[in-house]
Symmetry: C2
C-alpha cells in the first residue's frame, strides 16, 4: 500500500475473472495516467506472469494494487463513488456520460474528496447492490446494438475521458519539424518567380484568363500552408524546367 494519490480517481475492479484482463486494465490505466487500482476478490492472481505480460509495462500498477474482500471495504475511505454500467437496472440515480461525469468528479477531487470508479466483472457487470453504493452511474455512449465492452476497454474509455481533462493538448496544430512556415513575403516572392517563369505560357498571355489563373495559383499554394523548405524544393523544380 504505497503512494496513495487522491488527486485522481481510484479504479476499483469488482471480482475480475481473468488475470489477463486485470493486466490489460492496468495498461489502460497507465495509458491514461491513472495509478491507483483496487481489486475486490479477483478470481486469479493479478501478479501472475500472464497478468504482468498483459499489462505491457504497467506492472507497477499491479504491484501496488490493493486487494479487498468486499466492495464496501474497498470504498470505505472514499467520499464519492461512481459505478460504470451499461444496464440501468432498478436504480434511482443520476446517469452521466463518461465525458460529462468528469465535471462533478474533478470538482469533488478539487474540494478534497476521494473519488472511486467501480467496474464490474467481465460477463455480468456490477451487481445491483454494488451499483446502489454509488453516488451516480457512468454510461459510455456506444452502439446500443453492440455495447458489450471488454473490461480493459471500459477502463480505457473512462480513463481517456479523465486524462483529457488533465491536459491541455492543442486540439489542432501544424507541425513542420526543422523548417518553418514560409512568411507571406517569401510566398509572394515565390509566386512572382513562378509567374515570371511562365511568361510564355499561353493562358497567362490571355488577358481574360490571366487574373483567374494567377488567383488559382495563389490559392493552391496559400491553402497548402507552405514551409520555407518546401518553397526551396519548388524553386529547384521550376529552375529545372526552365533550363530545359
Amino acid at each position: 500500500m504505497t503512494d496513495k494519490n487522491f488527486t485522481q480517481p481510484v479504479i476499483i475492479l469488482v471480482c475480475p475473472q481473468m488475470a489477463e484482463n486485470v493486466g490489460m486494465a492496468a495498461r489502460a490505466m497507465m495509458n491514461c495516467g491513472l495509478c491507483q487500482m483496487r481489486l475486490v476478490n479477483p478470481r486469479e492472481d493479478h501478479l501472475s506472469e500472464k497478468a504482468v505480460a498483459a499489462s505491457s509495462g504497467a506492472g507497477e500498477i499491479l504491484q501496488n494494487a490493493e486487494i479487498f474482500t468486499s466492495v464496501t471495504e474497498a470504498v470505505a475511505d472514499l467520499n464519492v463513488l461512481y459505478a460504470t454500467t451499461a444496464r440501468r437496472r432498478n436504480q434511482i440515480k443520476t446517469v452521466y456520460t463518461a465525458e460529462k461525469v468528469m465535471e462533478p468528479l474533478n470538482s469533488a477531487i478539487q474540494s478534497g474528496s476521494r473519488c472511486g470508479i467501480l467496474f464490474g466483472p467481465e460477463r455480468t457487470g456490477l451487481e445491483n447492490d454494488d451499483v446502489s453504493l454509488a453516488d451516480a452511474i457512468i454510461e459510455i455512449p456506444l452502439n446500443p446494438k453492440h455495447c458489450s465492452l471488454n473490461l480493459s476497454q471500459a477502463v480505457l474509455l473512462v480513463g481517456y475521458e479523465w486524462y483529457k481533462t488533465q491536459i491541455n493538448a492543442p486540439a489542432e496544430q501544424f507541425i513542420t519539424n526543422a523548417t518553418h512556415p514560409a512568411s507571406k513575403e517569401q510566398l509572394l516572392k515565390f509566386l512572382e518567380f513562378l509567374e515570371q517563369s511562365l511568361t510564355d505560357f499561353k493562358n497567362l498571355q490571355d488577358e481574360e484568363k490571366r487574373p483567374t489563373l494567377l488567383r488559382n495559383l495563389h490559392n493552391i499554394f496559400t491553402r497548402g500552408q507552405m514551409t520555407e523548405q518546401e518553397l526551396n524544393t519548388l524553386y529547384g523544380i521550376i529552375n529545372h524546367f526552365r533550363q530545359k
Copy 2:
C-alpha cells in the same frame, strides 16, 4: 464488397499482424457503429476462427472487409484521409486530437467526400510513406510515458470520438424507473409530516435550534431529489417509529 456506406469513415488497417487483433478491431468498430473495414496485406486470415471469436459478434464486419495489396489501392476511391500515429516523424502536416478531427472529418463527409482513417501494424505503426498520403494526422492524447496502445484500442478511441458526434446522448439524466420524481407539494407534505412526528423531539422544541434543524431537514431531502416511491418508503418508516 457489399453495402458501401460513405456516411462514416472507412477504417483501414495497414498490415495487421494478428488475426485476433483484426477481430478485436472489428468488435471496437461495431461498438462505435462503424461498419466499413479495409485490410492492407493482413498477415493472417481475418476470417479465421480466432479472428471471428475475438470479434465477439462483429463477424459481419470481418466478412465484408475489403482486402488490398497496397495502401495506395486501399485509399484510391477516398477523398480525405487521416493517419493515426503516436509518433510524428518527418512530416509537415496538421495534427488533430482524436476529438477535434471529427469536425473536419464530419464536415468533409457532409459535403460528399469519402473519408478514411489509417491505422498501422501492431509493433511499428504506420510507415512514413503511408503517413505522407494522409491529409492530416490524428493523435490520441495519452500519457506520454506510456502511450503504446493495442491496435483495437486505438480503433476504439477514434471510433468512440466519432460515435459521440453521431448521437445526442443526454450528458446527465436522473433515472427513476417506474416511479416519478416527487412534486414539491408532495415533498413539503412529507416534511410537514416529519415535523409533526417530531413534536416531542427536544431540538425541535428549542426555539433557537428549530429553524436551523428544519432547514437542514429540507436540504437533506431536497438535495436527494426524492421520488414518490421513496417518499412512501419514508412515510412507512416514520409511521413504524411513531407506533413504538
